[in-house]
Structure formats: C-alpha cells, structure tokens
C-alpha cells in the first residue's frame, strides 16, 4: 500500500511539474523571444537630436499589432506598431531607455533598447603646398596626401569621456577597410589624396571596447586643381601675396619681378626640385634660375613693345598628374613712372 501511494505521488509530481513544461515548450517557437527588435535612424544617434525608432519583426504581424512605447520608464506614446516614432536624445553622457510592448494576433511581445548618444568629428587636411602665412586650408590635388583625425565624443552615462586609446577605430577608404590603419587607439591616418578629378570617401567607425557606445563619420574629399597664381615680387615689400595679378594687368613700371605660387600642388615648397616651371614671355622661352624656377624678371625698357604676354606651365618630374598653367597679359609703362609712390620709379 505504501509503495502504491509513493508511485501515485510520483506520477502526480511528474504530471504536475514536468508535463506542463513540455507542453509549454511545444507552443513557444524557437527564437520568438528575440523576434521583435528596435532599429535606430540614424544608426549612431547624436546628442540632443531626434532619433527615429522602428520596430522590426519577422514573426509578428506589425501591421495588425498595436504598440505602447515607454521612454525612461514613462509611457510616451502608443499606436500602430508599424509606424515609426521619434525620440529626442539627451546630451553627451545621457542614456535613454526605450521599451516597446506590442499586442497583436500573434500574441504579445516586447523589445528594449538603450540609446547612448555619441559624436565623431572627422578632421582632415592635405600636405599640398600653400605659402607661409596663407590663412586658408591646403586642399588636396592629385599626388598629395591627406591627414585625417577622428575626434570621438563618447561619454559613459554617469562616467567620464572615453579616451581615444580605449576606442577601436575602423577606417574605410572607398569601401575598402584599411586594416593596417585600423585598431585600438588608431584615431588618425594618412592616406593618398584623391586621384585626378576623383573623390575619396573616407569612413571611420569607432566603438568603445565593450561596444556599448559607437559612432561613425564620413567625409568626401574631392580633388582640387592646383592654382597657379602670379604675384609681384617687390624689392622692398617681398612677394605681394595680397595682390594676385589678374589676366590683364597694367603696371606703372618698366620692370617687374614676378613670383608664381603653385597653390595646392603636391610639393613641399614653391621651389621644390620636382616642380618644372616653363615660362614664355611673348612666346619666347625664358630660362630661369635652377633654384628659383618660379621667379622671373621682365624689363620693358629696351623692348619694342610694352605688353608682355606671360605664359607659365607647371609640371612635375615624377607626378604626371600635376599640371597647371596660367597666362597673364602685363602692360608696362615704358617711362617707368609715375609709379604711384613706388620707390624705384618716381
């Protein structure tokens, strides 16, 4: 009798504990608990910006479901589960917890997400030539190189900013991952500039070591044609960088020294040994100093005409993509004055 009672109790235990569990498992589709997710747009939300949240599911019929959105524990909105909603992020270092509860013909489900805003600044410059004291940016031309720096602004909620050496950077150039330049703490790279008439697309993705904060930046850098600019090289004042000579210029002198400046050319200086300046004055080739090929002096005192048509072409001994040309028509004053206060020509 005692054995019979124990056997009955054992059967009841199995029936009560084990079988329902098996039955329940039969109704739960594998993966159903992760079949609902929330996607962001933009993928890496910036601080104090609007983020569009969209529910995604391959299991639940969102068109027939309703949703209740909860942001940081407070019900924010409810409605059609297929309709995206906007959420505003906080400042750097903030955290926004989002929860979506859906109810529909396939049952109920929920999904959660956490938004930690971040930003990545992608700074760049070229190593192309600009003269000393030039106030603007050097722009890349064919053959030059481009330096880039990613400045991340990753702040942990309740914590400090994550330093660059605690961040993994992945650099991509024209869809090709630059493996050697990517990695932990590699926040800067130098790459070849755009090809002739081309545009380089550089993308950097950055993520904290635990992956909780991530960001991305993209930049398109177009090729710039070198700008050959002609200036007077004044004996007292130096190169008059503030007065680029126009296509047609009158000078109240009978002699002038000129300096050509190859803005944005791939060179270390205007006298770079690789640069080849070919001058022509009134169609006649002019020999220049080997060390100052970008300078000539034109004297009209003993010439028959007063107009000098100056043509200049610039090439490079090894960079065949470097090519620039300029033409200036300069009319001299044969008498050499008055020169409007110029010291050598009263």
């Amino acid at each position: 009798m005692k054995r019979l009672v124990l056997a009955v109790l054992a059967i009841v235990f199995v029936a009560v504990v084990y079988l329902p569990a098996q039955a329940g498992a039969q109704f739960l589709i594998p993966g159903a608990e992760s079949a609902l997710s929330v996607s962001f747009s933009p993928q890496y939300p910036a601080p104090d910006s609007n983020v569009t949240l969209t529910l995604q599911s391959s299991l639940y019929d969102l068109d027939s479901s309703s949703v209740t959105w909860t942001v940081n524990g407070k019900e924010a909105t409810s409605g059609d589960a297929a309709t995206p909603v906007n959420v505003k992020t906080g400042p750097l270092g903030s955290k926004t917890d989002v929860r979506a509860d859906i109810t529909g013909p396939n049952g109920s489900a929920s999904a959660t997400a956490t938004i930690i805003p971040s930003s990545v600044d992608l700074l760049w410059e070229s190593d192309s030539y600009v003269p000393p004291f030039y106030s603007g940016r050097a722009l890349p031309s064919a053959g030059s190189r481009v330096r880039l720096v990613a400045l991340t602004h990753f702040v942990r909620p309740g914590g400090g900013e994550i330093p660059a050496d605690q961040i993994v950077f992945t650099w991509t150039k024209d869809s090709e991952v630059l493996g050697d330049s990517s990695g932990r703490g590699k926040s800067s790279i130098t790459v070849d500039g755009p090809t002739l008439f081309g545009t380089e697309t550089i993308v950097v993705e950055a993520a904290s070591l635990d992956g909780s904060i991530a960001g991305q930046a993209l930049i398109r850098i177009p090729d710039t044609e070198p700008k050959l600019t002609l200036y007077e090289n004044h004996p007292l004042f130096g190169v008059l960088y503030h007065q680029a000579l126009g296509a047609t210029t009158f000078v109240p002198k009978n002699e002038m020294s000129f300096t050509a400046v190859p803005y944005f050319a791939s060179a270390v200086s205007s006298g770079d040994v690789g640069l080849q300046y070919e001058w022509r004055v009134n169609q006649s080739p002019i020999t220049t100093s080997p060390t100052h090929g970008n300078e000539i002096t034109v004297n009209a005192a003993s010439s028959t005409g007063l107009m000098a048509l100056i043509n200049l072409s610039l090439t490079h001994v090894s960079n065949y993509f470097l090519s620039a040309a300029g033409s200036w028509s300069v009319t001299f004053n044969k008498s050499g004055g008055p020169a409007g206060g110029d010291v050598f020509h009263q």
């Binding site: 720096v149 400045l151 009978n254």
Partner: protein, 399 residues
C-alpha cells in the same frame, strides 16, 4: 714618321682647345641667360633716372621718421600709412596705435589726437609679412625666406623716444612657428610649431622661454587664440564649403566649440559669446551670446575675421561688411590668395538682439577691404589694414 706624330699631336691639341672654348662659351651663355632671367644687366633701378635708394626712401616708399601732425585731431576715417604695413595694435589705455612697416620692420606709432606718426625703432628687418603687437608696443615680426622658412623676431620697443628712433631689442624665436597668438597685456605667447607629423602648441614668455605644452595634434594647420582672460581656442584653417572645427582648449583637451563649412571664429574675452562665419556657396555670420545659447544668423553677411568685439558688458561687435555681397563659391579662398577684394562698410552688430545697423560707409572715392581689425580699450577707435594694398587706416567710431 716623327713629322706625322708632331702634326697629329698639334692637331689634337688644337682640337682640344677648340672643344674647351666651345664648352666654356656654352657655359657662359647659360650663365648669362640665367642672369638675364633674374634681372641682372637690365636697366639699373638704383642711381638711374628711377632714383636712388636715398631719394626713394625720402620720397614715400617708407614713412618719414616724424610725420608732424596738424595738431588737430585726425579725420574720422584716417589713412595712417599708405605704404604696406604688416600689423598694428593699440597701446594700453590709449588711442595711440603701434604699427610695423612691411619694408623695414620698423615700429611706428600714430596718434589720432594730433594726426602724427612717429618712428620708434630703426632696426632693419626687411620684408615683414606679419606683425603682432602687445599693448606695450612689444612686437612679433614675422618673415620668411626663399625656402619658406618662417622667422619670428620678438622685439621690445623702448618707451624713450625723445632722441628719435632707437634700435629694437629682442630675440629670434624658434623657426617655423606656423601660428601664434599674443596674450596681452600679459605679454605671453601661444606658439604652434609643426614638427614632422603634426602640430605642437606651447605657451611661452615674450622671449620664447618658460615653454609649457598645451596642445598637440597630428594635423598641422591651425589658427590659435589666447585671450586676455586666459581662455584658449584653436580652429582649423578654413576653406569654402569644407567642414571646419573649432575647439576650446582646456587642460590639453579639445572641447568642441562649433563646426561649420568654411568656419571662421571670433571669440570674446571675459565671455563665452562667439561670432563665427560660414562660407559655403555664400557667407553667413552667426552670433552666440553664450556657450549654451543657440546661434543666431545675423543680418550682415561677412567673415568673422572682418569683425572686432567692442569692450564692455554689452555684446557689441563692429563688422566690416562688403557693400556688394560676394557670390563666388570660393570667395574666401580667393580672398586669402589676394585674387579678389571687396569694398567694405562698417556695421555695428548687437549679438544679444541679433540686429545690425550701419556705422560708417566710406564715400564713393574711398574703398577699403578690411582685415585684422583691432579696437582700443575704450572702444572709440578701430584700426584696420586694407587687404587690397596693406595700407593702414583708423576709424573713429563716433562721428
């Protein structure tokens, strides 16, 4: 046989001499060609009908030692110097304006109360492209060589001028300082050099010593500011349509300040107010009353570097605004290259209210393209350089 040998030797010697003559002659022709291309042998500029150095120097290329004023105040718009200058700065608590001649590097002082200009120094430092002044007249004179090496001379002007011009005393700072800012009246320097692979910023005293590193970057092209209140800013050099970033420098860290395409900024001392401009298919000027305030687009369209903050509590700035709005997409780049110039008028901008009103418009016969404007401590005079010819001007703000 001997006769043939002697004849052969003679022929060979003659041939050798002829070859040598032709070789030397060709070298001489090449040298003469190079010399001619450089201007050698052309009509002499010195001592000819074109004048001599002496006569030229006393005839207007450089200013006379003392340009005696009329004793009367200068006109509201005063052309202080017609010949190129390399920089200017007001003396402390004064309307006197220090400036440096581009040709000689001499320092002069202009006094609008009596319309006088007096030469203070006579040390020749030729072809000074950039000069920065502290409020006591100390000056940084910056020049460059044929190989683009930048030199910076930190000079101090003696205040004793009774005996006429005196030598400028000072020292050369390290070569190739790419950017510099003067913290005045403390007479401290924020220097940026560009060693291989980046930029290094240090603070230093006027002699360039007591250096402390404050900034490092793998990028080389920066503009820097060190304001009187001690705040430091760095910004990328701008280009039209290219995103530029500006940062506050704090404890060696770069804290984001503002970013915009073609960005140029003008920070204000004793305040976090900011004026900045953006050039991208047109120029726009923005004002921000504090670091946390929303920027407001101002009604005038000009570059931030054509503006100067007025002293005082009110967020007032004076901006030189092109009378014809530039429409070129690469206006700023052309302006920096000296390929385009504008004719400006002065506007008073109230950043707090976001309004602007005309302050001074030159008459039809006068044109200036303002750069490097500075204002005196009382806020009643603005000095600026005309970017078109590097002449120096002074404007009394009140009519």
């Amino acid at each position: 046989m001997l006769r043939y040998a002697v004849a052969a030797i003679v022929v060979m010697m003659l041939g050798g001499l002829l070859g040598w003559y032709m070789f030397v002659n060709k070298q001489v022709a090449t040298t003469l060609g190079n010399d001619a291309a450089r201007g050698f042998g052309t009509s002499a500029s010195f001592g000819s009908s074109a004048g001599s150095t002496y006569t030229n120097n006393s005839a207007g290329s450089t200013l006379p030692d003392v340009q005696a004023g009329t004793g009367n105040p200068a006109p509201r718009l005063w052309k202080v110097a017609s010949t190129p200058v390399s920089g200017a700065g007001f003396a402390a608590s004064s309307t006197q304006l220090y400036f440096a001649e581009r040709s000689s590097g001499n320092v002069l002082v202009a006094d609008p109360f009596v319309s006088s200009v007096t030469r203070l120094t006579n040390t020749l430092l030729p072809k000074v492209y950039e000069a920065l002044f502290a409020s006591d007249g100390s000056v940084l004179l910056r020049s460059t060589t044929d190989t683009d090496t930048i030199s910076t001379y930190a000079g101090t002007v003696s205040t004793t001028t009774d005996e006429g011009p005196v030598p400028l005393t000072g020292t050369y700072l390290p070569q190739n300082i790419t950017a510099v800012s003067v913290r005045s009246p403390q007479q401290l320097l924020f220097l940026v050099t560009a060693p291989t692979g980046g930029a290094a910023g240090v603070t230093a005293n006027w002699r360039g010593s007591s250096q402390k590193p404050v900034f490092a970057s793998t990028l080389q092209e920066w503009r820097v500011w060190w304001l009187a209140d001690g705040r430091m800013y760095v910004a990328q050099k701008p280009s039209d349509g290219v995103m530029g970033y500006a940062f506050t420098l704090k404890g060696g860290a770069l804290l984001s300040l503002v970013n915009a395409p073609g960005l140029s900024i003008l920070p204000r001392t004793d305040s976090t107010a900011l004026i900045y401009s953006s050039s991208a298919g047109g120029v726009n000027l923005f004002g921000q009353t504090s670091a946390s305030a929303t920027p407001v687009r101002l009604s005038v369209r000009t570059l931030a570097e054509k503006c100067v903050w007025a002293p005082g509590k009110d967020l007032i700035a004076y901006c030189a605004v092109p009378q014809v709005t530039p429409t070129k997409v690469d206006y700023m780049e052309e302006w920096y290259r000296g390929a385009t110039h504008t004719s400006d008028a002065w506007w008073k901008v109230d950043v707090s209210s976001g309004t602007a009103q005309s302050q001074f418009t030159p008459d039809s016969g006068t044109s200036f393209d303002v750069e490097h404007p500075v204002i005196n401590e009382n806020g009643d005079y603005i000095a600026f350089i005309n970017a078109a010819d590097k002449s120096l001007w002074m404007l009394r703000i009140t009519p």
